[in-house]
């Protein structure tokens, strides 16, 4: 479980996050939704420590990430997997070496054990025979899958995904969504997904956090959104905008 308590963040005096309070549950796909520019990516980057919040707490199972020493932060980061919006695969490394990279850095596995684990992860994301390919030779959907495979290479507790299906065709987007959902339940991890895709919400959303202009407007299970019980006009507008009448 990850808990945000009164998190504020500004850049050069321009406030981007306002008093964010949110809870992300273990073993569930937690979705952060909202229009572009609403602060979803900034919040995610604060949570993994790429940005430092101006104030507030970020609790990883009650460990306050913001006020830990750099060494302790690095310890928690080993429990974190992240899928970046542009996948951020290392383009100088093959698929196999990309996925094996965290293992090489942080595990004591032998080369064969690493290869086994890499192949297991590749299989888990339904990719085969791409071990020696380079990221530039892969399609968008394949890159995302390799990104997921790299994120789960080590035994992680927390998985972050920034717009995992942006830029993908609808079919591939569903495949990625389902993959993230299944992995979350299979490994019983806390998964947090940024998205502006309502289809994702209805398909795999289990706990929804709606952000608008840097504030959390609504938080709850998707069933309540479906029933039109959100009582927030901003959220209703966002939902309606997603459907072609």
């Amino acid at each position: 479980m990850i808990e945000l308590v009164n998190v504020n963040k500004s850049f050069n005096g321009k406030q981007v996050l306002f008093d964010i309070n949110a809870i992300f549950h273990k073993g569930k796909t937690n979705l952060v939704i909202g229009a572009s520019g609403g602060g979803k990516s900034v919040m995610l980057k604060c949570m993994v420590g790429l940005f430092k919040p101006d104030s507030g707490q970020i609790l990883y199972d009650n460990r306050d990430f913001v006020n830990l020493s750099y060494e302790e932060v690095r310890g928690i980061r080993r429990e974190i997997g992240m899928l970046f919006q542009g996948t951020a695969l290392f383009d100088s490394l093959s698929v196999e070496d990309n996925i094996g990279f965290p293992l090489k850095m942080f595990s004591k596995m032998s080369a064969e054990e690493r290869l086994d684990r890499v192949n297991f992860c590749l299989k888990r994301v339904n990719l085969e025979n791409v071990n020696k390919k380079f990221p530039s030779e892969l399609s968008g959907g394949m890159k995302k899958r390799v990104g997921i495979a790299r994120a789960i290479a080590l035994p992680i507790n927390y998985l972050f995904c920034d717009e995992p299906n942006s830029g993908l065709d609808p079919l591939t987007a569903r495949v990625i969504d389902n993959l993230l959902h299944d992995i979350t339940h299979e490994f019983n991890i806390t998964t947090i997904i940024n998205s502006h895709d309502m289809k994702t919400v209805y398909d795999i959303g289990e706990n929804i956090v709606f952000m608008h202009q840097g504030r959390v407007f609504w938080e709850g299970p998707k069933e309540e959104i479906r029933a039109g019980r959100s009582d927030k006009p901003e959220l209703d507008r966002f939902i309606h905008a997603s459907f072609i009448e």
Binding site: R78, F101, M105
Partner: protein, 245 residues
């Protein structure tokens, strides 16, 4: 103002780099890879340039020393001393600032703007150390080696140019070169090579690491890396000459 800010950031960057490496073996392996890239990759251009600079120096020195009262062997003295002291280390390093420096800055800059650096950080890896340290260490080993080769080829180029343009015989050249030879000159040559190599690799890594934006900014960072490395090489060239001569 901007300059002071940048110098401060450079110092911080240098300090961040030296934290405990996650996996020494990986760092060493990366250092060897970089040594091959910097050393072997730059050998042809260094060889061509130093040979011709030596040759040109012989011809031009002969042109300037028209008086019959001066022994021909003086040309050998002038060429070998100026090659060791200035031409081989400084000119070679200015060229390497262009070749190695732009390559380092664009490589790290591209990784930065495509979030690969963030990916390293989220994994719990000290990205500054992981990316820059192997390049700096590799440069400290390889660039002085290249300068030693440049010294030989520069003096050799001078000798051969003297012979084939009928200015002086190789024997006269060698007598002149030996006449005033001091080991201290070679020492200064290597001090310059070491200092310049550190300037090139560290400034270029720094410029790459603080790139933000996209492809355009990567190009700008790469240009800035070359310009700033060249300027700093000349500044330190002067300082070293002033202090050590």
């Amino acid at each position: 103002m901007k300059l002071i800010f940048d110098v401060g950031r450079y110092v911080l960057f240098m300090r961040n780099m030296f934290s405990k490496p996650e996996r020494l073996k990986v760092y060493i392996q990366r250092t060897f890879d970089e040594m091959v890239a910097i050393g072997i990759g730059s050998l042809p251009i260094v060889a061509i340039i130093s040979f011709f600079v030596g040759a040109v120096t012989t011809v031009q020195t002969a042109y300037q020393l028209v008086s019959g009262f001066i022994a021909k062997s003086v040309i050998g003295t002038v060429v070998s001393d100026s090659t060791l002291l200035e031409l081989a280390p400084t000119i070679t390093c200015l060229v390497l600032a262009g070749k190695v420096g732009s390559h380092i800055a664009s490589e790290i800059g591209t990784m930065k703007v495509s979030e690969q650096v963030d990916a390293l950080e989220v994994m719990g890896i000290n990205s500054a150390g992981y990316l820059a340290l192997p390049k700096i260490v590799a440069g400290l080993f390889m660039i002085p080696c290249l300068i030693i080769i440049a010294n030989f080829l520069g003096i050799g180029g001078g000798l051969i140019a003297g012979k084939y343009s009928g200015i002086l015989t190789p024997e006269q050249f060698i007598i002149g070169a030996r006449d005033t030879f001091k080991f201290y000159t070679v020492f200064i040559s290597l001090v310059k090579a070491t200092v310049f190599s550190f300037l090139i690799t560290s400034i270029s890594s720094f410029e790459g690491y603080y790139t933000s934006g996209g492809a355009l900014e990567v190009g700008e960072a790469s240009t800035r890396a070359v310009v700033r490395s060249c300027v700093m090489i000349l500044v330190f060239d002067f300082l070293i000459a002033k202090v050590l001569l």
